[in-house]
């Protein structure tokens, strides 16, 4: 009995040792390099617009005068506002918050949780006696749009310290798990069926899913976060959504961002 337990625990340990983030990333990229042999991995940061010439043309003409411009300007003004205690966002981030978005999400070892940019913004506010922002608000959207804009051209280099491995694996499990009435997983559409059609839309690849946030979706008429998009996906497969910035979504964002390591950030972006 004891022998069997020992063997089982050894096997389990071996299994988790095999699945490490760098190996996952290599396999992930290799899949998409093979599936989309004519497209550079980095080009997938434009999502479906990297896969369809006609859609791309329409999107590029919109980019000429992008709808998120208003949010960037609003964000710049909001970012410069001081808190009641005289400090500001510049005091909470490296480099005054300019060009730091590509370092999020990160694993906060002290708090034992994944820290996204949105979470960091509210933590900053809390530390200086300000009320937190609603994660779905236009104010949060404007702030993250501005910060994303200053990180355009930067490269994702997300790290997973040993303490963060559990969160990374939770995010990975979420990505591959089926959910909802339609019993679809993220991977089902955005890995296995990437490039295929879902009704009238082309399914984008998961590589590039974390680079372009926050995003102005025309149907939202405002800038929204990646977690808002997670909720839309959940809704679309008939699964229950979660509050933005809940642990599961932050872990999923952690996994997705790691899978986008090496890619160029291009937020904020506009989408249909």
């Amino acid at each position: 009995m004891l022998n069997r337990l020992m063997i089982m625990s050894l096997l389990l340990a071996a299994a988790s040792l095999r699945a490490d983030p760098p190996s996952d990333l290599k396999a992930f990229r290799a899949f998409f390099e093979q599936r989309f042999a004519n497209i550079e991995i980095d080009d997938h940061r434009d999502g479906a617009y990297a896969l369809d010439a006609a859609k791309r043309e329409q999107w590029l003409s919109m980019e000429d005068f992008p709808p998120y411009e208003i949010a960037i300007e609003a964000g710049e003004a909001l970012f410069a506002e001081s808190f009641a205690d005289g400090s500001g966002y510049v005091d909470c981030f490296e480099n005054g918050g300019m060009g730091v978005k590509q370092t999020f999400p990160r694993f906060d070892v002290g708090a034992n949780t994944v820290q996204t940019l949105e979470l960091a913004i509210n933590e900053c506010r809390k530390a200086h006696g300000e009320a937190p922002l609603d994660y779905a608000s236009e104010t949060m959207g404007a702030l993250t749009a501005y910060m994303a804009y200053t990180s355009r051209g930067e490269t994702f280099a997300i790290t997973v310290p040993p303490e963060g491995l559990a969160a990374y694996n939770e995010g990975k499990a979420f990505f591959y798990a089926r959910r909802g009435q339609l019993n679809f997983s993220c991977a089902g559409c955005h890995v296995a069926s990437a490039g295929g059609m879902l009704r009238a839309e082309i399914l984008s690849a998961s590589v590039g899913h974390a680079t372009h946030w926050p995003t102005y979706r025309l149907k939202w008429e405002q800038v929204g976060s990646l977690h808002k998009r997670f909720n839309e996906c959940n809704e679309q497969v008939g699964a229950e959504g979660l509050p933005e910035q809940s642990a599961s979504y932050r872990n999923l964002e952690y996994f997705l961002s790691y899978m986008n390591n090496g890619m160029t950030l291009n937020g904020p972006a506009s989408r249909k």
């Binding site: 000429d64 005068f65 709808p67 411009e69 208003i70 025309l218 008429e221 405002q222």
Partner: protein, 104 residues
């Protein structure tokens, strides 16, 4: 809520100016409700006027079917560098704003 100016871009080619404008505006239809269930009053751009060197060249009547922060593009004929294009809007609450562009 402070009224924001109209953002404009213009491209001049062979005497025709292609003007693109982005107008920050809530464009409320008057049929949406707050979380508490109260109706959000209608607040939308009703009239858009465009002037080319002071002369009215375009007048549009808009309604509630136009989305928030409208994007509006149009062409102006017989345009040359140095011309001024002005876009002005008036909404149902009497608020107004404008944008000015000098063609290059």
């Amino acid at each position: 809520m402070a009224v924001k100016p109209v953002k404009m871009r213009g491209k001049l080619a062979e005497g025709v100016a292609e003007i693109k404008a982005l107008m920050p505006h809530p464009m409320e239809t008057g049929t949406r409700r707050t979380e508490a269930g109260e109706l959000i009053p209608a607040h939308f751009i009703q009239e858009v006027m465009c002037e080319h060197n002071g002369a009215l060249v375009l007048r549009a009547e808009w309604g509630t079917s136009v989305s928030k922060n409208p994007y509006f593009a149009f062409k102006v004929a017989e345009a040359k560098a140095g011309d001024e294009v002005v876009i002005r809007w008036l909404d149902n609450l009497g608020e107004t704003s404008e944008g000015r562009l000098t063609l290059k």
